[in-house]
Symmetry: C2
Subunit: 205 residues, 2 copies
DNA sequence: CTTTATTTGTACTAATCGGTAAAAAACTAA
DNA sequence: TTAGTTTTTTACCGATTAGTACAAATAAAG
């Protein structure tokens, strides 16, 4: 294993994490295919050989940027799953999505949704990777709801798969709305309506 | 005005509408930027000069394909607006979206949503045109709901803008879900939940 | 100082992108 | 048959794409 303190050779002149953050912003705005290498290198403040030496290639750079996206401090999905009740999970999920998708401090919408939705065949790996991430997130939500069902929070005949899909549809739909210019206030109104719809499903009958 | 019966010169060897239909299918699957000219010409059965002579350029071809998409017989959005009550409008909209987005006879999802969501700067015209179409559709839905509100179907304090956004979020979210591989049955379940949520907003309080 | 390892900037590659010039081909009108 | 008009085919254009070869630069190690 290499020692990160003492490394031989010319030292890297840029910060890996900051460069990846800049790459994420470019991918966030333009998507995987829409972001060209000049777009990326200019934003990252490095040139192409440095990018390839540090991150492999464009596809690996994108996947690392998405990983950073999912784990960034203001990400809302995973924390929402930790809420104590199903209702609070949904509440945090919906209002978290409303806030995050319209946050003016970064591009609108969701990278996992918009990064490679319709694309050429050469982007198929990335497209499939994002589909897998979306499915995995929905599955985690479904499992969280099944846990709540076992705890008696949901009716015995509740379809946790359908409920999870319903919530994911809200998040993904808000992502599109945000990309269309919807305001944070409007997304909050949508979240409130959606939350009422979810609440109704918590009552038996 | 030209007589469509007697036209001078070499006759066109392909059918304009069928070629446009084929172009739509390619754009539907790969998006505006993801669809290359070889992709298009191969599917349309023509070569590039014929394409440019008949449709202008790639951008104009895309916009004409979207126009065909919006007016095709199985489109659900405009017919839903003609339903007699707000509830029926929502019902047709939601279940129409569930059916259309997962229809196996064509690519999954919605061209207006996925055609140019995240893209390079060179696709900005198309991106803005699709945003405008999405906003216009939402505005039409809002106006239909305001009409229903004037007819006493909705509470006096109902926010038709928020309700329209809520319904549009369902449609656009289902489009993403379909692109992620969701089944028609699953989308119908989501539509049913969403419709219950909308129904609850029809009652005052 | 020399050697070795790594990053840097410059310049390049082959392939693909959207778009078009030019001539042959196929039709109507005279 | 001849002229005029439009479409088709082939071959090309400059620009851009992702990716890389190579040498200069910069560090630690001996």
């Amino acid at each position: 294993m290499s020692d990160s303190q003492t490394q031989v050779g010319r030292p890297r002149a840029f910060d890996l994490d900051k460069a990846l953050q800049k790459a994420l912003e470019v991918f966030w705005e333009k998507g995987y295919e829409g972001a060209s290498l000049p777009d990326l290198t200019e934003a990252m403040g490095i040139n192409k050989p440095s990018l390839y030496a540090a991150f492999g290639n464009k596809e690996q750079l994108f996947l690392k940027a998405v990983e950073l996206y999912e784990n960034r401090p203001c990400a809302f999905f995973k924390p929402a799953l930790l809420q104590p009740t199903a209702y609070q999970v949904a509440e945090h999920m919906l209002f978290g999505a409303a806030a995050a998708n319209a946050d003016p401090s970064h591009p609108k919408g969701c990278v996992v949704v918009q990064g490679a939705l319709s694309c050429s065949d050469s982007a198929n790996n990335v497209k499939q990777a994002l589909i897998e991430k979306r499915r995995n997130g929905e599955l985690q939500l479904q499992q969280r709801l099944e846990q709540a069902k076992a705890a008696g929070e949901l009716p015995a005949d509740a379809d946790c798969g359908a409920l999870a899909s319903y919530l994911v549809v809200q998040i993904q739909g808000m992502s599109i709305q945000a990309a269309s210019g919807a305001s944070a206030e409007r997304l909050q109104q949508v979240a409130a309506i959606a939350l009422q719809g979810f609440k109704a499903m918590l009552q038996p009958g």
